[in-house]
């Protein structure tokens, strides 16, 4: 399963344990539950703007979130609900951000997936694809300056995002600086409506790794075990001083680009290939195969996830929304500057 490009296969990663697998699965399940709720809130007109789901990508994302440690840095993208949760995001913050609550991390100023707590190593993406990679790299430069040699950083990017100049500059720069950065490329076959063959012409995106002088691996994005193994390997390599790691996980986007989109353009055949498997189902089957959990236990978890989500939504809904009268409309952080402007 460990399909590495650069280094020889090595047995540095212990086999995936029941405990770890179940932990990851729980985040996947919770993420799926969150997103089903978001979709229904959106359909009900309770969320302005767009709603973007990570359906089909929970395995990749959960694996990243779980294999990062406290003190690490994470720069998630739009389909990383599972990873965000695993990295420590509070459920209620998700809904606060979507509603535009005054209490949310962006206080209604930015919405949906544009949330984070950058000072805690949990970065808040802007929309411009590719532009977060260098930010996470820079955070790692800072850690090096501060003498923190144990932390690593991880960020994700879509197949489409790999075409951005920002992505290229950032990964090259991280390679020059030999930063402990793990870049996980999630190839879900489409960028909005654009299929791979209109996005790039190489055989496999992992072929880019060698050109940056970074280590590259592939993984089956629909298979949690593959993701846990490969991401464990990559994070371990990064942590032990082997510089940037590029991991390419393949899967299929199992939702529209956003909830406004029915994805009519997706090649329907893909749903019947290995790429089209639902990672959540695959993982549930594996749990049962391994006799790590039976259907009833999973059902309990599912109910539990639902309940947590309902509670979080209810809490967020009781909280005040953003209010223009709270705003000073001053963009500056520097106190004396802000004050001088307010006086004027």
């Amino acid at each position: 399963m460990l399909d590495t490009l650069n280094p020889p296969k090595r047995n540095v990663v212990p086999p995936v344990s029941r405990e770890q697998y179940i932990k990851a699965f729980s985040w996947m399940l919770l993420a799926r539950t969150v997103e089903e709720k978001l979709a229904s809130l959106w359909r009900a007109g309770k969320i302005a703007g767009g709603v973007y789901l990570g359906k089909g990508q929970e395995a990749v994302s959960a694996a990243i979130g779980i294999l990062l440690k406290s003190g690490d840095i994470f720069g998630p993208l739009i389909r990383d609900q599972a990873g965000r949760l695993a990295f420590g995001e509070s459920l209620v913050d998700i809904f606060r951000t979507h509603f535009g609550s005054r209490t949310g991390p962006t206080r209604g100023r930015d919405g949906n997936v544009h949330r984070g707590k950058p000072r805690d190593g949990y970065h808040a993406m802007i929309s411009h694809l590719g532009s977060l990679v260098s930010v996470v790299a820079g955070a790692l430069v800072a850690r090096r300056f501060k003498g923190d040699t144990s932390a690593i950083g991880a960020t994700t990017i879509g197949d489409g995002g790999t075409s951005t100049g920002s992505f290229h500059e950032a990964i090259n720069m991280a390679a020059v600086e030999k930063l402990p950065l793990v870049v996980v490329v999630v190839n879900n076959q489409y960028a909005y409506s654009t299929p791979n063959h209109r996005q790039f012409a190489c055989n496999h995106l992992v072929d880019r790794a060698i050109g940056y002088g970074v280590e590259g691996y592939t993984m089956d994005g629909t298979d949690l075990r593959s993701c846990l193994e490969v991401v464990a390997y990559a994070t371990e390599r990064a942590r032990s001083g082997h510089g940037p790691q590029m991991v390419v996980g393949s899967c299929l986007r199992l939702s529209g680009h956003g909830e406004h989109d029915d994805g009519f353009y997706v090649d329907k055949n893909l749903f019947h290939t290995a790429l089209g498997r639902d990672c959540l189902k695959v993982a549930e089957n594996y749990l049962q195969e391994q006799e790590w959990a039976d259907e009833a236990l999973v059902e309990t978890w599912r109910r539990n996830a639902k309940q947590q989500v309902e509670e979080a939504v209810a809490k967020a809904q009781r909280e005040p929304l953003a209010d223009p009268s709270d705003e000073t409309w001053c963009p500056y952080a520097t106190q004396r500057l802000a004050q001088a402007l307010l006086v004027r």
């Binding site: 929309s127 951005t164 353009y265 409309w329």
Partner: protein, 321 residues
């Protein structure tokens, strides 16, 4: 039958493709998908091979359009949102805008920027970047406010030998309708008096023309007659038409959705006071969005951008000066 602002943009592209074999369209998801806003819907079917999906590479999208223009083509580049054009700024302002001046070879490209705010769009899908591009020499920056202008100006943009930044307002896409499309329109370097008035000139462009018109209707009830100049094109700027209006009304209020510092409003006001200071009986005024990013929450957004009510209040104050 009626046609929307968005449909007008689609129709203009269809006509340009039909009439001129040099025209092609390049942008993310513009082919089979028809574009994020459906501005190129069905065009790929109608014009096979001439509507090309681009990778997420704004810099290369514009760079390649420049190269094609050098070879005599007339590319239309669709940015998925105006906000993403910040990644193509270098190609636009340094390569496209300077090409003719440097080499005497024209650069007839049109870059469509779906612009402006919409509820819930947030700081990175709401920007109005006309002022950024208008600052640089060599670009034509169009900001159509009507269905008719969306149509004729886009045709003119494709026809013009210079690079055109075509700022189409997303808020108007489906909200603005007209009975039919005109055969022709004013040339882009001419502003339009959108409403005649006596007491006060409001200069606006793009979606703000409609806020201004709504404000004018309210003010009419107070017997304040507002004249409205729709700039249509913010670079080059038709100062003459503005001056002529101010000569009649002696009062100037500028309304724009972009940020205040150095935007269209400040250019209009400066042009008026440097050339027509004596025409004014009161200080010219401006209304912009607040000087912060565009907020996500609908309530914040509503307070961030100029609204009819704010325009009414400012116009009344100016009238009473």
């Amino acid at each position: 039958m009626s046609i929307t602002y968005l449909e007008a943009i689609r129709e203009a592209q269809e006509k340009a493709l039909r009439d001129d074999p040099r025209v092609y369209i390049y942008g993310q998801d513009v082919a089979a998908f028809g574009g994020a806003f459906k501005a190129t819907k069905n065009l790929a079917k109608e014009f096979p091979g001439r509507i090309l999906d681009a990778p997420i590479s704004e810099d290369a999208m514009v760079g390649s359009a420049i190269g094609a223009a050098i070879e005599g083509m007339r590319p239309i580049v669709e940015m998925q949102f105006a906000d993403f054009s910040t990644l193509a700024v270098n190609q636009i302002v340094n390569q496209a805008a300077t090409l003719y001046w440097r080499t005497q070879v024209a650069c007839p490209i049109t870059i469509r920027l779906p612009s402006g705010g919409n509820p819930g769009s947030g700081p990175f899908h709401s920007q109005s970047l006309e002022s950024l591009y208008a600052h640089f020499p060599g670009l034509v920056v169009m900001t159509p406010a009507t269905v008719e202008d969306a149509y004729t100006m886009l045709l003119e943009a494709v026809d013009i030998d210079d690079p055109v930044i075509f700022c189409e307002h997303k808020y108007l896409y489906n909200r603005l309708k007209s009975a039919e499309l005109p055969e022709s329109g004013l040339p882009c370097h001419q502003a339009r008096v959108a409403r005649l008035g006596r007491d006060l000139t409001i200069v606006a462009y793009s979606a703000m023309v409609h806020e201004a018109l709504a404000a004018a209707e309210q003010l009419r009830k107070e017997d304040i007659e507002v004249e409205i100049v729709d700039l249509r094109c913010v670079k080059p700027l038709d100062v003459d038409t503005v001056l002529a209006s101010v000569a009649r009304t002696a009062r100037l209020l500028c309304v724009g959705e972009s940020w205040p510092w150095g935007g269209v409003n400040s250019e209009v006001i400066t042009s008026v006071v440097t050339h027509g200071f004596h025409l004014l009986d009161a200080p010219p005024q401006r209304i912009n969005s607040k000087d912060t990013p565009v907020p996500f929450h609908v309530g914040l957004w509503g307070a961030h951008k100029p609204s009819t009510q704010v325009i009414v209040a400012a116009a009344r104050r100016l009238y009473e000066w």
